[in-house]
């Protein structure tokens, strides 16, 4: 019996001592950290992609908790989860105009000339460093898929003409492809923008078209047709001023002879006068 009493007593003593120590420690040594940060971080997708503009999900969570950012800024999370976070923190969901990556080139292997047969590391950047990779158009896509590889969300696939295609639904606008493309062909654009110039070639007229059938040849018809200053010609290239996006309309694309300016609405629409591309296989080396 004594045995039992000693044991129970000892344990009680031990428990109390430990609890006391912890209580004291808790008072003396406590460093406050808002538990909500952890909770919110758990609700984030942990992609650490940076699309929200912070260094990662944890930082985003911290900023959410102090109210610097709004849950909607995370474009990777599902809408419901963001709503849950918003409810939990009692803040506005907030929203960010959904953005997607857009490619300013349409020169697939079936329409754009190539002069040289690049052999070496399979990478656009590598090719670009070897005399421009052999593509006729010095501004165009090299088609070696650096962007496809860098996209963590599988939002880019190379089509059969070695041209990257962005799957809008998967793109989180993280901007990795924008950074990696050696030809700077990607940019993040609000998904609602319909008018788009898919070319960066600065050559004019026949010189441009000799290198790529679908190049902007600088004819200026889109600029003439579009209302106001919506489209202007800069260095032989049509440039859209998205601050005037409100009066964007399809008229701008209708007379484009090459189809370099397009209307994006449930697919890519070209004007009536645009060349019809029938060629399916790659152009031979020239």
């Amino acid at each position: 019996m004594l045995n039992i009493v000693v044991a129970v007593g000892f344990m009680a003593g031990l428990g109390l001592i430990l609890a006391t120590v912890l209580v004291i420690a808790n008072r003396r040594l406590f460093v406050y950290e808002d538990p909500k940060i952890d909770e919110v971080e758990d609700l984030l997708p942990h992609s650490n992609c940076g699309a929200c503009g912070t260094a990662g999900c944890r930082v985003f969570a911290e900023k959410l908790v102090v109210g610097e950012l709004q849950p909607g800024a995370c474009t990777v999370n599902s809408a419901e989860m963001n709503q849950i976070i918003a409810n939990y923190l009692g803040v506005e969901l907030g929203s960010q105009e959904a953005q997607v990556a857009r490619l300013a080139c349409a020169g697939g292997s079936n329409v754009a000339q190539r002069y040289g047969d690049y052999r070496g590391v399979e990478s656009c950047r590598a090719a670009a460093l070897v005399a421009g990779g052999g593509k006729g158009c010095a501004w165009g896509c090299l088609g070696l898929a650096d962007c496809e590889r860098v996209c963590d969300f599988d939002a880019i696939i190379m089509d059969r003409h070695d041209l990257p295609q962005v799957i809008d639904d998967l793109c989180t606008a993280c901007g990795d492809c924008v950074d990696i493309c050696p030809r700077d062909l990607f940019s993040l654009q609000p998904a609602s923008h319909r008018l788009w110039v898919a070319c960066k070639n600065l050559e004019k007229g026949d010189l441009a078209e000799a290198e790529c059938v679908v190049a902007c040849n600088g004819c200026g018809r889109c600029a003439a047709d579009a209302p106001g200053e919506l489209v202007t010609m800069v260095n032989n290239l049509a440039v859209i001023d998205y601050s005037q996006n409100t009066h964007a309309s399809r008229v701008a694309i209708e007379r484009c002879p090459t189809g370099a300016i397009v209307w994006l609405e449930g697919g890519v629409h070209k004007g009536q006068e645009a060349v019809k591309i029938v060629r399916k296989e790659a152009l031979p080396l020239k």
Partner: protein
């Protein structure tokens, strides 16, 4: 030409290439190994021939199989797997049951190489991974030695060689007693030294008229192979030299202290598998550091550790474990021995 059509290749510099390839290097190592194998077969007989054939073949088959499974292009063409097979065979006792040798070969390739992605990515020496595995799995069989130059070694196999798969090999003492004229102790020179302080004459060690693993026999032939490889720059001479140096650095003071108890450095160098290991295994490039300083650190580490295990450990032979441990710290060695860039000054 004038016509631009003819000019198409776009490449990055340099446009010249030295012609030595991985396959050539590996092939030359095989050439250097052939005399070692031949001497071993001559000394121990057909059993060793079968042993080497088994390890090499199983290694090649496993490699082919793993390449198939993992969708890599077959790497049989680079010869490296032949080296693995031969070296594995050379590290086993002459009468080692063939089925165990096959297990060793399979493990060598699977666990030592394929698991990590094949040639160039393995972290430890595949041949030694195979041997360490069977050493731990079949400790009795792998310490059953038979003497060299037995009469009838070309007409008769060592009885344990053809043990049925998964069965225990039968003891071979009786068979050896019946064959050899003098009483054979079943001990290698290392064991004799360690447990009985009996030293084996150096001439015997040099020519390989002692018992031991199939390939740890003639130091001279192994050295010649090493010199050939080093001269052709297919092997880094610093590695074997470093290992031997390391071995001497540790063994010399002990020998000077108590020559009766501790072996002399020359004996340390020539006995056991140290020579074979130093020349052909430590020099395996894949699992050794690349940095100039790292190479020395690595080789000295292995040499010193070998002797430490031999003198103070429970095993008579330490070189295999020393190399595996060397392989294990090789990434760390590489890390702390990055070369100094041209023109970089010492921090003073």
């Amino acid at each position: 030409m004038a016509d631009s059509r003819a000019v198409k290749s776009l490449r990055s510099s340099p446009h010249l290439k030295q012609s030595v390839t991985v396959a050539q290097i590996m092939r030359n190592v095989v050439f250097a190994l052939i005399p070692v194998c031949a001497w071993s077969v001559y000394a121990f007989g057909f059993s060793v021939l079968l042993l080497l054939a088994t390890t090499t073949l199983v290694c090649m088959l496993s490699e082919a199989m793993f390449c198939r499974i993992s969708g890599r292009t077959s790497s049989l063409g680079d010869w490296s797997i032949v080296i693995t097979g031969l070296l594995l065979g050379l590290t086993l006792p002459p009468g080692f049951p063939l089925w165990m040798a096959a297990v060793a070969a399979f493990v060598a390739v699977g666990l030592g190489k394929a698991l990590f992605g094949g040639l160039g990515y393995n972290v430890m020496n595949p041949a030694l991974v195979g041997r360490a595995f069977v050493q731990a799995a079949f400790p009795v069989a792998i310490t059953t030695w038979s003497p060299p130059f037995l009469p009838g070694r070309f007409t008769e196999l060592i009885p344990s060689t053809l043990t049925a798969p998964f069965m225990m090999p039968e003891p071979i003492d009786a068979w050896i007693d019946q064959k050899s004229i003098d009483a054979f102790s079943g001990a290698t020179p290392l064991a004799l030294q360690k447990f009985e302080q009996v030293s084996t004459p150096l001439t015997e060690l040099l020519t390989g008229t002692v018992s031991g693993s199939a390939g740890e026999t003639s130091a001279i032939i192994i050295l010649l192979g090493g010199i050939y490889l080093a001269a052709r720059r297919m092997m880094d001479w610093r590695l074997p030299v470093g290992v031997m140096l390391g071995a001497v650095i540790v063994s010399l003071p002990f020998w000077l202290l108590d020559a009766a108890r501790y072996p002399d450095p020359l004996f340390v160098l020539l006995s056991g598998g140290l020579m074979l290991a130093a020349v052909f295994m430590v020099s395996d490039m894949v699992a050794s550091p690349v940095t100039p300083l790292g190479v020395w650190v690595y080789a000295l580490f292995i040499g010193m550790l070998t002797v430490v295990i031999r003198l103070f450990g429970g095993l008579t032979e330490g070189v295999m474990y020393a190399i595996l441990l060397g392989n294990a710290i090789s990434p760390l060695i590489s890390l702390v021995t990055q070369p100094k860039v041209f023109g970089e000054r010492n921090k003073s």
